[in-house]
Symmetry: C2
Subunit: 277 residues, 2 copies
């Protein structure tokens, strides 16, 4: 980041370029630099890290003002990041990517389904310090005040200290007035699962169809060092995230398996390479 230039800030989301959460996010980061918004044309909830491969995508310039440019992409949040990097940020990599503000929690295992966090993770793969913001309010009109206020503290720290390569931050904000927030905690991701209760209905032609619904189940309700725990206590949580899904602990155990037996007999490779492990 040059000292003479304002930071270049790439804003995106999964709810689309017209979303209220995006407006609040622009308000949060505007004091820190030049803002370029590249967000989906339509709402993209639950799109996770999906990319558009079957059809082409389009990029439209929507609005340009003194310090904010807005573009829309007819694709997923991850398409937005890829297309923006390829078309708009060729000559200068953004100093920061922020995604959100998502209506609803992306704590615990919800991160797996989240388009908001996928955009941040994609940013981190491009080595941009990236942050996804979510507020635990599923309503159409969440109160973003606390997220904007404390989000600025997080943005300031990221711009000052940077993030390690390929790391992004998953920030979640409890539903509280800004002055009742207890503080900001750096924590690990809670274990949990969505228990899916599909709702079965019958269409006018007499054929079944299913609506996805469901509820979150905390699988470690006793834990006191996780995002779920601190959110329930009124803290904003930060979980540093990476795209290395390897479970190193399980690697050790599986190495003890009988993986040399193939078709009922010991496999003899013709010319084994030297193991450097």
């Amino acid at each position: 980041m040059s000292n003479t230039r304002k930071p270049l800030i790439f804003v995106t989301n999964d709810d689309g370029y017209k979303a209220k959460g995006l407006e609040a996010l622009v308000e949060m980061v505007r004091p820190f630099g030049q803002v370029i918004v590249v967000a989906p044309e339509e709402a993209n909830s639950g799109m996770s890290h999906a990319i558009t491969v079957k059809v082409p995508v389009r990029l439209k310039r929507r609005k340009v003002s003194d310090d904010v440019e807005v573009y829309s992409v007819t694709g997923t949040p991850v398409d937005c990041v890829k297309l923006a990097m390829n078309q708009l940020f060729k000559s200068r990599t953004p100093d920061l990517l922020v995604s959100g503000i998502n209506h609803g929690s992306n704590a615990s295992v919800s991160i797996v389904y989240s388009g908001t966090m996928a955009a941040a993770l994609e940013g981190s793969l491009y080595k941009i310090p990236s942050i996804g913001f979510s507020v635990l309010d599923y309503s159409d009109t969440p109160d973003f005040e606390a997220t904007v206020k404390y989000g600025r503290t997080i943005v300031q720290n990221v711009l000052k200290f940077g993030l390690a390569e390929n790391i992004c931050l998953n920030v979640n904000v409890p539903v509280l007035p800004a002055d009742e927030i207890k503080g900001i905690k750096v924590v690990r991701q809670n274990k949990g699962v969505w228990r899916e209760e599909f709702e079965k209905r019958i269409d006018p032609r007499g054929v079944d169809y299913f609506w996805l619904t469901g509820y979150f189940q905390n699988e470690e309700p006793e834990a006191t060092d996780t995002d779920e725990y601190y959110l329930s206590k009124g803290y904003i949580t930060i979980v540093p995230i990476h795209a290395d899904f390897t479970c190193y602990k399980e690697m050790k155990r599986i190495e003890g398996w009988n993986l040399d037996f193939v078709d009922g007999k010991k496999h003899e490779a013709k010319s084994k390479i030297e193991d450097k492990e």
Copy 2:
């Protein structure tokens, strides 16, 4: 798993219930138990962990034979897992979930975009031992012989030893005749990134559109303990995967930040809970 019952095996994929890779996967696991296929109605490449929330999904019974039942779902690979667990496996949880066989690599960072691996990861969240299989052949007619043969060794081991809770396996197979495979290696996920070269075209009305293309860039070409390395040397690779995306190493560093300064002054919480860290 009961000793008196054959294992119940849930087969899915991202290329759709008619895909050749699915046929080969059924052939792989059929000797081990009762097979139920629940797969997308259409090809779903690049869908990652997406779920269908805007429209309802439908489940259709397609084929029933002595030991294989086939269903299709008008949704994503993850929808298939969720709907199957909710509608078809209510009374008995599968003993194994297998996903694939994908045409093309899901090694390294490709896992992030993969519907094949998302289905396996979703299975692991339901505590089903789950395996995703991919062969490094992007053609329409890959040779699945090596995957079927060595895949059986992996399936046997998983049925015998089990997997730790919430773990699935990412199995990739090099493009080699079965008798030239060097062996099976348990390894970590290689660091890498897809460099996206969007192809810009002009439609008949004179408007731009973009096709996603791009190439994989290995970001640790010197590493000798990763999936990319062993695949290049003729080995089948197994990476144990989990849905905990926390980067524990980065947590420690971020805890040293100035997260107590909000709006330029030190944040004093009204009633801090006791930190149990």
